[in-house]
Each structure stands twice: as structure tokens, then as C-alpha cells.
Symmetry: C3
Subunit: 203 residues, 3 copies
């Protein structure tokens, strides 16, 4: 129940990040709607298609779609305010990343996938939508150019989640611990500007 | 029967728009084939994958593929003529948009999807192929930069189609009316250069 | 058995081509991992999703994922050497193209697809991963800009494979012959710089 509420919350936050990029890319209302939609459900949609969980989740539960529509309308109506609260949105986005990543790993496990697949599905669910958003706007996905850590917290968070489960930790507790790990690692990297080193060719 | 003929017609027209972009992007014959293919079947393919209607439609009915191959050959053989009849192709493209959008919404309904999903699937089927075409050619999808209305007619056409069905209008009649609505709205926006307003940051 | 070994070999080679592009695109370790992953399994993943063969192959057999991880680690550790043996990697890449294309066509046939679909699935499996890799790095897919033949050998190789099968040639022998045809055509075009002519507008 709480996880579902967090999932819808993450959907709204991711949708608003799509609206903001549509605005920066000089798009119109439809562009904002599309970018909000792909950011919010893109990762989970690919996950479901690869797992064979079709019709994909937002076809089976359309609440996600109404949350996105509401987020687009609210986002556009308060656009100048949304731009000003950029730092707060980063906090929300980190929450979305945490919730989506764990939820993605859980869904993969529910389909009988191996741990390594669950981690991939977690990262895909958490970071895939934003990658499609960036590509639609003509940019190399932020998650691949990462000035800060984005996918890395999701990878280690999902890995830690699987470890906790293998140690027979209560699943709800494991979700909370791994989620806090992802959220806090992401926020620390944003604040301290921590990034992975670039690949460089040895001289 | 007539709808199927229109569907194949839309396939050919969309394929030719792929050939024209391949030409403008300085690609070779294979590039033309790929861009024609993704423009013609890309939207419907994603729709089928998300609905779980697999193998996707052109694997089950390969007529679409032969129509695309024929369209590429005819398109390349008459390339200088195709470029000259640009305005006529826009009329055909508007027909393709109308047919594909309604057909996409119908397929979603046949899979038991809710109305809001049917609208998304309609727009995806009508405009998704062109979006993939543009991304493969290294451009931000035209449908997101829209100088004219493209997706908006599809959205309202599919919405109107669903309203007509809910009012117990004969399905064939509803298809014709909604199709004409999409086609005419699209053409009016092309002729009058009507577009949605850009999102702008307030002062 | 041998084909499976070749398949894993192709996976490793394609993964390394992803690492090299991530390096040229100034990405970090995660970027290298993602580009290696999509190059190695991207084409086969789309093939499986379109055929309805879900969960897709690397979810069912995670050996592919461990091969990719190993290839990324080895590739990054020997990066300056990998760049120097560029020509050798092209030979490996041509092997990967040959193996993946035939394997893709075979899988489509096993799902009862018609010959034309088998050819499309062959080309998609062989060249699709590289196309996604290029798009993620912000480039028009190499296979569409082809300075040399890449997809064309795959098309004709798959076509010839189907012809051999229709002539009741032993499937293993047909695989070997068609694979050698793809490999050698690709290598000749690399060495001789043979490409398809660009589409040009007449006068």
C-alpha cells in the first residue's frame, strides 16, 4: 500500500522532469505530455515487455496515466515555480529512483528471474525512462554522461536488496533499507558532485 | 475490407516518407529500406508489443512487408517526382495518420484496454513510426517539434471515436466520421500553419 | 554446441565494440557497461519481443550477461591494446555479424515465421544492437551511414541460408556456408571500402 503510493509519487515526479525538459527543448503541450509519459513509465514498460508481462502495467492499471496527466497540468501551470524549486525536485527524483529501482527488481524476481537479471531490471526501471526522455529530446542520455551518480546507486541498492533477502531479512524491511541506501547515495553524489571517473585512453 | 485496403495504403505512404527522409539524410538503399520499414510499421509494432499481441502484426501478415518493399522501389525510381508532389504526399500522409490512429485504438479496445489506453495506442500507431524514423536519422521527432498539428488531431479523433461508440453509433460509421475528423484537422493545420503554442517560461 | 560457443564469442566481441564507443564518447564505467550490453543483446532482445519469445533470451540464459561483464572488464583493462588491434576487432565483429544473423533467422523460423520475416529478424539480430549503441551515443546508426557493407551481407547471407534449406541442404552445412558468405562479404567490403551508392536526387 505504502509502496504503491510511493510508486505513484515517483510517477508524478518523473513526469514533471519530462515537462521541464520539454520546456527547455522548446516543445509544445503534446511534447510535454509525451516526455512526461516516457519518463514516468518508459523504464517499467521496457521491463514488462522483456519479461513478457503484457499488457504492460499502465494498460492494466491506468491510475499511472491519470497521475501523469495531472502532473503535466500542475507542472505547466506552475512552471516558473517548478524551475525555482529545482533542488527540491532533485530530492523527489532521488526518491523516484529509489522506489522504481526496488520495484523493478521485485517484479523481475516475481517472474522467477535470476538475481543478475533483477538488478538489470531494477536499474532499467529506475533510469530507463529518463534515458528515453533524453533521446527523444535529441540528447545523449544523462545517465550515460553522468556528472553525478545515478545508475550506480540503483545497481548497488538492488544488489544490497538481494543480499538482504538472501539473509532472510523481512522483505518490507529490506525494501526500506535498500531504498534509503539508493536515495542517500544519490543525494550525497548530487551535493558533493561525486561521479565515476571517465574512461580514458592510457597516454 | 475497405479498412484493410486503407491500412495497406497508409503503409505505402508512410514507407515513402521514410524513403524521402533517407534521401535527405544522404543514406543508401538499405537506409531507405530501414526508414521506410520503421515509419510504416514502427508504431503498430510497439503497440502490439505493449499489448502482448505477439508475434506482432507484420509477422502474422507479411503483406505489409511486400507493400513496403514495393513502395521503396517505386519511391526510389520516381524520387525526383516524389519530391515535387510533396503537397500531395502530405494529403496521403494525413490519410495514413487517420487510418492508423483509428486502427490502433480499435486494436487496443479489442484487447480489452480502457478508453485512455485506446487513445494512447491510437496516437502511438499513427505517429510512433514517424518518431522512430526521425530518431534513426538523428533528428528530434517532428511530432514533438510540431510546426503543425500532428498528434493532436489523432488524440481528438480517437477521443471522438470512443464517444461515438459510447453513444452506440454504428462502428463503421464512427470509424469514417473520426477518420475524416483526423484527416481534415490535420490538413487544415498544414494549410493554415496552425500549431500548438510552445511552452514558455513566464518572464 | 559450436554455434552456442560462437554465439557467446559474438556477444563478447559486440560488447567490446560498445566499450570502445563509450570510451570515444567520454563515458564512464556504467556507460561502458550499458553500451556493451545493448550492442551485444539489443538486436536479439527486440527480435524476441517482436516474436513474443519472452522472457527474452538473456533472462532465460544469463551466461550472456556474464560474458558481457567479463568482456567489459577485460576491454577496459586492455583499452589501449584494444584500440591498436582495431583491424583484428573488425574481423571478430564480422564473425559476430555472421553468427548473430544466422541465429536470428533460425529463431524466427523456429517460431514459424515466413522467410521474409526470418531475413528481417536475421538482420535485426546482427545489426540492431549496434544501431541502438550508436543512438545511445548520440550518433546516426553506423549501419545506416554505412561507409562499408554491413547489413547487406546479412540480408544476402540469410536469404542464401533460406535457399539452401529449401534445397534440402543439411542445416548445419547451410549455417556454415551462409555464415562464411556473410563474414567474407563483410570483410571484402571493409578491405576494399565497398559501399552501396547513396541515394541522390536526379539533377
Amino acid at each position: 500500500m505504502t509502496l504503491y503510493a510511493l510508486d505513484l509519487f515517483g510517477t508524478a515526479v518523473f513526469a514533471i522532469s519530462g515537462v521541464l525538459l520539454a520546456c527547455r527543448s522548446n516543445m509544445d503541450f503534446f511534447g510535454a505530455l509525451v516526455l512526461a509519459f516516457v519518463t514516468a513509465v518508459g523504464g517499467g514498460t521496457i521491463r514488462d515487455a522483456l519479461l513478457g508481462s503484457t499488457p504492460v502495467f499502465w494498460i492494466q492499471n491506468t491510475h499511472y496515466l491519470w497521475v501523469i496527466l495531472a502532473a503535466v497540468i500542475v507542472g505547466l501551470a506552475t512552471l516558473s515555480w517548478m524551475v525555482r524549486i529545482h533542488r527540491i525536485l532533485q530530492i523527489f527524483d532521488a526518491m523516484g529512483l529509489a522506489v522504481f529501482s526496488i520495484a523493478g527488481a521485485q517484479k523481475a524476481l516475481a517472474f522467477g528471474a535470476e538475481p543478475v537479471v533483477a538488478i538489470i531490471m531494477g536499474v532499467l526501471t529506475g533510469a530507463g525512462g529518463g534515458a528515453i526522455r533524453d533521446m527523444l529530446a535529441g540528447q545523449v542520455p544523462m545517465v550515460l554522461r553522468q556528472e553525478e551518480l545515478y545508475a550506480t546507486p540503483a545497481i548497488f541498492g538492488c544488489l544490497f536488496y538481494l543480499l538482504l533477502l538472501s539473509w532472510s531479512v523481512n522483505p518490507t524491511l529490506a525494501t526500506v533499507i535498500a531504498g534509503i541506501l539508493i536515495f542517500s547515495t544519490r543525494m550525497i553524489s548530487v551535493i558533493r558532485k561525486i561521479a565515476l571517473p571517465r574512461i580514458a585512453l592510457p597516454g
